[in-house]
Subunit: 460 residues, 2 copies
């Protein structure tokens, strides 16, 4: 009997734990789930006979060491900053580790030690990062194998509410960390386009958006992610002339969100004086120059960047209302987050939706002349002979617990853990799932859960 230790039973761990428990019987697994919240572990394990639910504090060294030593593999779904102690113990006790988080500098430094210990520290195997790496590398490796040369790679991902469960003018509800949504994009986005580096600072990030068509799912809009450049190296695309990653939203969201950016509502660096006694209207007034009717002033202030659809979105949030903010010493970002957490809450029966789309353009090998099936398509590159592949994924959740987000983040982690336990993955050290040995079986297994990319090919 193999023993799996899952640390962290929060939002993203629901489908992961469900998968492991469903497999526990046939695979002869025992699954220990630990979290600081006893309620959470009880709720997620539901007394399953193969499960052991424990209250677990990662900072309790003795408990951490005991539990890790008792496991064959550890899955950490803790916040990224908390993985390192777990990872060090995994190296020490020669236990494999799987996480859905970005490889931190500290984790990367464990590579040699992990190899020496004969274990894998597999990271970035959730949705984004995770499924994005795997599905992109599957196409990239195939193009390269066929002698093609990639000239453009654009990749988009968004965690949204399924359109049929949308009941608000923003077309958005939270399926992951709200704070990250509020602070998204602060800094400067960087990418490369036709061989030139491009930079978009926060002040215009939500105005400089792209339209993205996803087959059978209509049009979305995308704003640029912070750093598209760092993906070139792990994908083996150091010389690619165009590399862009973006976040998807429903059309109209970005232009409306820009109002918050321009007014100052997303600032988290200072606190609003007397915030507990102000109303939302008061704070709106405080961000607007001049005097008079607040909506008229907003319209005048935003100028060409304002329209009725935006005003409706702001009104729906109650930003012109006399309702009190009732938060002490709060930053604008904290005030906005509290309001949006209420307004953009996924209801129990709501379904969320994950949309991911990759767009590859490449020069095929000189000796290939087979026409792709999909006909012609508009391409970014303008070279004589360019082919294009789009690869898209749309996943809808079951409800507000077993969300598409929880499935797409948690299932790849769980599947990878199973593959490692069954010795289907031989690679060792600190890794991300850009290698075929990992991405192929994980993507295959994901298809059984409806997480399946749809591919189309075109001539440019």
């Amino acid at each position: 009997m193999k023993h799996i230790l899952v640390i962290g039973a929060g939002r993203s761990a629901s489908s992961l734990i469900q998968y492991l428990l469903n497999q526990a019987g046939p695979q002869n697994w025992k699954v220990t789930v630990g979290d600081v919240s006893a309620d959470l572990v009880e709720m997620k394990t539901q007394g399953h006979p193969a499960s052991r639910a424990i209250v677990f504090d990662v900072h309790d060294k003795a408990q951490r060491e005991t539990e890790i030593q008792a496991a064959d593999i550890v899955i950490s779904m803790l916040p990224a900053s908390m993985h390192i102690e777990v990872a060090r113990d995994c190296v020490r006790f020669r236990k494999h580790l799987v996480t859905a988080s970005y490889v931190s500098k500290e984790i990367a430094e464990l590579d040699q030690a992990a190899k020496k210990a004969g274990i894998i520290l597999l990271n970035e195997i959730g949705l984004d990062p995770g499924i994005d790496h795997m599905s992109a590398m599957q196409v990239i490796d195939r193009v390269h194998k066929d002698g093609g040369q990639l000239v453009s790679f654009r990749s988009y991902c968004g965690g949204l509410v399924a359109p049929e469960y949308n009941d608000n003018p923003w077309g958005y509800k939270f399926s992951w960390n709200p704070r990250n949504v509020i602070l998204a994009g602060q800094g400067t986005a960087q990418f490369i386009e036709n061989g030139s580096y491009k930079y978009i600072p926060y002040n215009r990030l939500f105005l400089q958006t792209e339209k993205v068509e996803v087959k059978d799912h209509g049009t979305f809009e995308a704003y640029a992610n912070r750093d598209s450049l760092s993906y070139r190296k792990p994908y083996g695309l150091n010389k690619i002339p165009t590399m862009f990653r973006g976040t998807l939203r429903m059309p109209g969201y970005c232009k409306a969100w820009n109002t918050f950016v321009k007014l100052g509502w997303t600032d988290d660096t200072f606190t609003i004086v007397d915030s507990e006694n102000l109303t939302y209207r008061d704070l709106m007034e405080a961000f607007l120059p001049g005097k008079g009717d607040v909506k008229e002033r907003l319209r005048a202030f935003m100028g060409i960047d304002m329209d009725t659809a935006i005003l409706e979105k702001l009104e729906w949030l109650g930003l012109f209302s006399e309702r009190r903010i009732s938060l002490v010493n709060a930053s604008p970002a904290v005030i906005l987050q509290a309001l949006l957490e209420e307004k953009w809450k996924l209801k129990a029966e709501d379904k969320d939706m994950i949309v991911m789309q990759h767009e590859f353009e490449y020069h095929p090998a000189a000796d290939t002349d087979d026409e792709p099936a999909g006909g012609e398509a508009p391409c970014y590159a303008t070279s004589v002979k360019t082919k294009k592949i789009t690869s898209s994924l749309v996943v809808k959740g079951e409800n507000s617990v077993y969300t598409a987000m929880a499935q797409t983040v948690g299932l790849p982690v769980a599947i990878a853990a199973g593959l490692i336990l069954n010795e289907k993955i031989q690679a060792r050290g600190v890794l991300i799932p850009t290698i075929k040995e990992i991405y192929e079986p994980v993507l295959n297994e994901l298809e059984h859960f409806g997480i399946r990319f749809v591919e189309e090919s075109f001539m440019c």
Copy 2:
């Protein structure tokens, strides 16, 4: 013989050291000037018989203790973050300390200990902070003494180039820390206007400017300082409905600077890939969306916020040129700063100019009915009986070493040090010059150096 220790002989210390050495004979002072740069101390003391020039490292504990013990008073012109060790030694060895820097949290915590040691730790006695406090409090105390009630206080200050020495379309040259000019305004500016708190985030700070008329010196423009609110308490104006502090620039500067903000040139949070090989034009291109002629794209991108005067300013800086940036791993802010330090350098014979203006509005005591001399003036307050006082200072430098900046920052420090040595200031503990015992004699002495406020009174 009294012994003065001056630590730091940089730009702001020139006039300070000159004043102390000129007074050294009649006052029987010995002046030790210490700096990490031997050249700098030699240059600033010029072998004056009352001077002792030493190479001084504030981090050398033994030297610091020895020199502080040998002094009767210490003047620290170091960067603000370096004062604290000096201040602690001053408390320990019971020596007075004068600085031109803001009171840090650490310095503030020394208040009781300083009082117990019978010493004064006098801070914020340069230009801004310093002369602004003193000149404002002189009027505020007078208005309050006469039974008046202040309803509006707006205060502006700018360190500029004297118009007759201006030879560039920006009307600006550096007379102080260039980095602070590049990063100015990042965050959110806060002030209060007619009883309402107002916030201006960085993305529109340089568009939401005010015109400021200074008698005999024409029109300037002002952008809001980061925090006007924190001045209410030290000035005893906790209930004032309008309190605004702004930075002065020549007309047109702010709208042009907004181009840098909007494009992303002032970002200091990331480095530009391959920055050493790019030209200024390349980087301009990298910040602009689309393709085609860079100036046309800039014009389209900036829209209503662009005009020929702005384009001329950018062109004058060489931002469309094929000249290489030649800085490795540089942030946009670092790249811009290096360029501006070259272009906005004060030449040896150039004169800088300090402009400061306070605008007070108040309700006079009920029993006063004397009309002010200056006639009527436009006022911000709209109450029935309101009077207005403007108090303005314009100082021009002698040259690029004995600048107006060096005079206005350094002379108040030097004068205050003399007053303390001569026991004209009895207050003890951590202080700023908002009390009459300090501001009155300092402002009087400053008048001998042409640093004199001109006051006008109006009926609103």
